[in-house]
Subunit: 178 residues, 2 copies
């Protein structure tokens, strides 16, 4: 997920680590702040995988900044991952939001964008609860515990908002690329 976010930001324009850190903090920081000890090793991994290169520029600032550029392989990896996200990217809200944040990089392939949205739609359409009576999902109305009831109510409200948005956006995408 971090990998996806880094590639996504670098696709727009080259950045150095510190800027990247600020972008990431804005995107996911209030929910899950990412630390230096996470970011810099991740950058190094992407570098050894050949997805980005760093160019040391002796700038005017404090330490020597390493500007990070996406390579062609990096661009391909990003687009590939956006085209075919793994199941966790679809089901886990944090990861899904990251996918959404960068899905416009697939603007050249509206059909691929629609396919991704449809996967999320299918996932949300499955009848799933957090609590079961045997195999039957339990609805919010049946739960005595007010906190669990709240959990189900919130989850349902989210689902519904997202489903309407998904249906609307899919219709629009299909108008563009029939």
């Amino acid at each position: 997920m971090l990998k996806l976010a880094i590639l996504g930001f670098l696709h727009d324009r080259p950045l150095h680590g510190y800027e990247l850190r600020r972008h990431l903090a804005a995107l996911t920081g209030h929910v899950r702040p990412i630390s230096d000890g996470t970011l810099y090793p991740a950058i190094k991994r992407l570098e050894t995988d050949g997805l980005l290169v760093r160019e040391t520029e002796p700038g005017t600032t404090a330490a020597p900044r390493h500007t990070l550029h996406l390579t062609e392989a990096g661009r391909a990896a990003l687009l590939g991952r956006l085209r075919e996200p793994e199941q966790l990217d679809i089901s886990d809200e944090n990861r899904w939001f990251t996918v959404l944040a960068f899905l416009r990089h697939l603007d050249a392939e509206p059909a691929a964008q629609a396919a991704v949205l449809r996967r999320r739609l299918d996932f949300l359409s499955e009848p799933a609860s957090f609590f079961y009576d045997g195999t039957r999902p339990i609805g919010a109305e049946e739960v005595g515990d007010p906190f669990r009831r709240g959990l189900l109510l919130i989850a349902r409200a989210t689902s519904e908002a997202e489903l309407t948005w998904l249906r609307g956006t899919l219709a629009e995408l299909e108008r563009t690329a029939p």
Copy 2:
């Protein structure tokens, strides 16, 4: 988060690993399935920390089942963690849902329950976006990218649903324990 969930389930009644696995699968499985390689080491950690004990019962079933019992220290750890969740438990939706799923274990202390809900309310009340123009949060209306706009719309809908629920439940808790 896994730790919290295990302790939470065992607080209701002793379970063996396999049952625990099924409970966990129901609670978080559709979003983020947890594997054996995650569960069993976690159980072992909790055991060495003295939060649970396993009692081997030579039952009628296939392999010898280890029924897991919460110790007094385990109960204390669970309640302590529910009383004072770390910030990630408040901000990350997955973790927060886990807290909610077990918050009724604090039923004897409605004031503590209210305090936890109020922390989440404070967190959601902060003006936070995913995208910024400098330091000013950008609203959904200003975003051109339809996917990012969707992201913001969904986040806002969730927030609003949760805020109404939080306010209502808090009012109710305060009626119980003024």
